[in-house]
């Protein structure tokens, strides 16, 4: 995980965290729904949430930490504005995902599990997006894209970067 804190790093308050936890605590098997809800809302699971979840769901802090670290999906640091996942699984390998991975790392200047210094991109590996007949597949936030070539990847990142300028 990247150690860089993006500008949204502290966009939560203990009261907000507690409200999300309280909304899920009575569900059977509440742990994963709670963790998902926190990450969906704040982009990651802040360290401060761990003792609060432990208290609410009657776990030790070590157990909560163990659960968060077990699952690849959960992050404990804020991601970049765009999370780009590249499929590393076999179906995509057969149509050139290894070259695409290398290209993406070089283009963004980061490795997997890292965030660019400008907090624009977080790069993550993923093992199958279910788009296996039309790979290589890439997921940008919640959108899956197929038949991704290195050239299209450059166009994609150009477009994503351009959006920022417009927003500002």
């Amino acid at each position: 995980m990247s150690q860089i804190h993006s500008p949204i790093a502290d966009a939560w308050t203990p009261a907000q965290l507690q409200a999300v936890i309280d909304a899920h605590r009575l569900m059977p098997g509440a742990m994963l729904p709670t963790l998902h809800a926190i990450q969906d809302r704040f982009g990651y699971i802040p360290d401060a949430a761990v003792p609060m979840i432990a208290e609410a769901l009657r776990h030790t802090r070590a157990e909560v930490h163990g659960i968060i670290s077990f699952y690849h999906h959960f992050r404990t640091h804020p991601p970049g504005r765009n999370v780009i996942q590249i499929c590393r699984a076999e179906a995509c390998q057969s149509v050139g995902s290894r070259q695409l991975e290398a290209h993406a790392r070089q283009r963004l200047g980061i490795d997997y599990h890292q965030t660019t210094p400008d907090h624009e991109y977080t790069l993550e590996p993923v093992y199958c997006l279910g788009n296996c007949a039309c790979g290589p597949s890439v997921r940008v936030n919640d959108d899956v894209m197929g038949r991704m070539t290195p050239e299209q990847f450059d166009e994609l990142t150009d477009e994503l970067s351009a959006t920022v300028v417009e927003v500002k």
């Binding site: 059977p28 098997g29 509440a30 742990m31 994963l32 729904p33 963790l35 998902h36 769901l57 163990g66 659960i67 077990f70 699952y71 690849h72 999906h73 959960f74 699984a89 076999e90 179906a91 995509c92 390998q93 057969s94 149509v95 290894r98 993923v126 093992y127 199958c128 997006l129 279910g130 788009n131 296996c132 007949a133 039309c134 790979g135 597949s137 997921r139 919640d142 959108d143 899956v144 894209m145 197929g146 038949r147």
Partner: protein
Amino acid sequence: MAITVYVPRDTTALALGADRVATRLERGARARNIDINIVRNGSRGLFYLEPLVEIETPEGRLAYGPVTPKDVDSLIEAGLLEARQDHPLALGLTEEIDYLKRQQRLTFSRIGITDPVSIEDYTTLRGFEGLKKTLALDSQAVVDEVKTSGLRGRGGAAFPTGIKWQTVHDQPPGQKYVVCNADEGDSGTFADRLVMECDPYLLIEGMTIAGLAVGAEQGYIYLRSEYPLAHAILDNAIERAVAAGYLGDNILGSDRAFHLEVRLGAGAYICGEETSLLESLEGKRGLVRAKPPLPAIEGLFGRPTVVNNVLSLAAIPFIMDQGGQTYADYGMGRSRGTLAIQLAGNVQRGGLVELAFGTSLRELMEGFGGGTHSGRPLKAVQVGGPLGAYLPESQWDNPVDYEGFAAFGGVVGHGGVVMFDDSIDMGDQARFAMEFCSVESCGKCTPCRIGAVRGVEVIDRIRAGDAAEKNLVLLTELCETMVDGSLCAMGGMAPFPVQSVLQHFPDDLTPRQAVMAGGTTC
């Protein structure tokens, strides 16, 4: 009268620009003052033709594909909205497309035809008929019907579904659960996703029937977090099914209850293993449980639980509607019914092929798939996901069936067929099998947790020419240890692809070949 135009909305169609196609169609029609009604249907599973646009005509739907956003204007100019067939992308009647026409779609009879969340569309095509028949039967009769069908678990383990249901059924009354394993993590598979995105009521109906059969009133769909679209569609469909009385406390006025909820996984391949899945649903790390006790006796929260794959549950409505024997009439040997084969990877015509068991791999890859996408010769095929063996050409004429495949060390698994052309370095693939296992192992048992890491190291040494011969012996022994000593199929099968490379593609796992093929040597 508005012209009805269909533009699919499943993940693959969207990944290839279906939303932009729909927008351009709307804009193009408006500019010409033509009244159109765009329906966002599911995909037919003919992914090589996606986005597949269809026009409703009195003779049936006419297809055009693959339509990129840039093609829309020329299609409209060539008379798409008058259903003319002059454009190079025109494909004629959808139902007459050879790839589709040659299939035996029992489970996937509705996908791509309907609006996925329309209950009306679903019931028009025999939806919920199986549920209605189930409500009129006693629970043992339902279990018997499933046994008659010969249905075996489509997730990969191929355990008879009826026997599993019988075990849960026979447990004393009390809290029981139906859990759907929708953690479709095998590379090369997308059939579960197609069910959930294109025909979600089919899964809802199958799970409700399972609940009625075994005496469970609560169901969970454990869905992988990599499928956000399936999540949204399922949640929407469940809400509508509750409102229409197909789910809830009083199903269709029968006074019987079944409740359903989607729970998201969190990017852990191992959670597709049923006991790991149950741990995860309970809110824990997804560590595999030792069996026994079987989940059917002590499953979720310690209660009797049916854990079935999406495709097993999706086969149930047909079985209850048309009869178990009708389903069993398809297939060969002890593999009854149909299998959803997913053609993926380096394939010219990728997509879903539902056929009775017994078709050969060659027919699937060449007859349906049309060979590789790159146009280069096929070299190897991995069937059954990342834990399945790589099969060389000498094995492509075997019919696909559970026992037949097992006889030569193949795995049917979830029906994924990933094709590779001759540019692939099988040494890379062997290394990846071990690497994947090291990333995804739950860590509970040593052969899997440590074996996978050592496997990567040993393969790297072989490829670097570091005492290659001795290390090849070591790799062989390591594979045997993992197969024999692991707690579940993850560590127990992860060596299969490696062993298949050693056996069938030995030239690719030597340093000389690694360098020649441009593979990594470090």
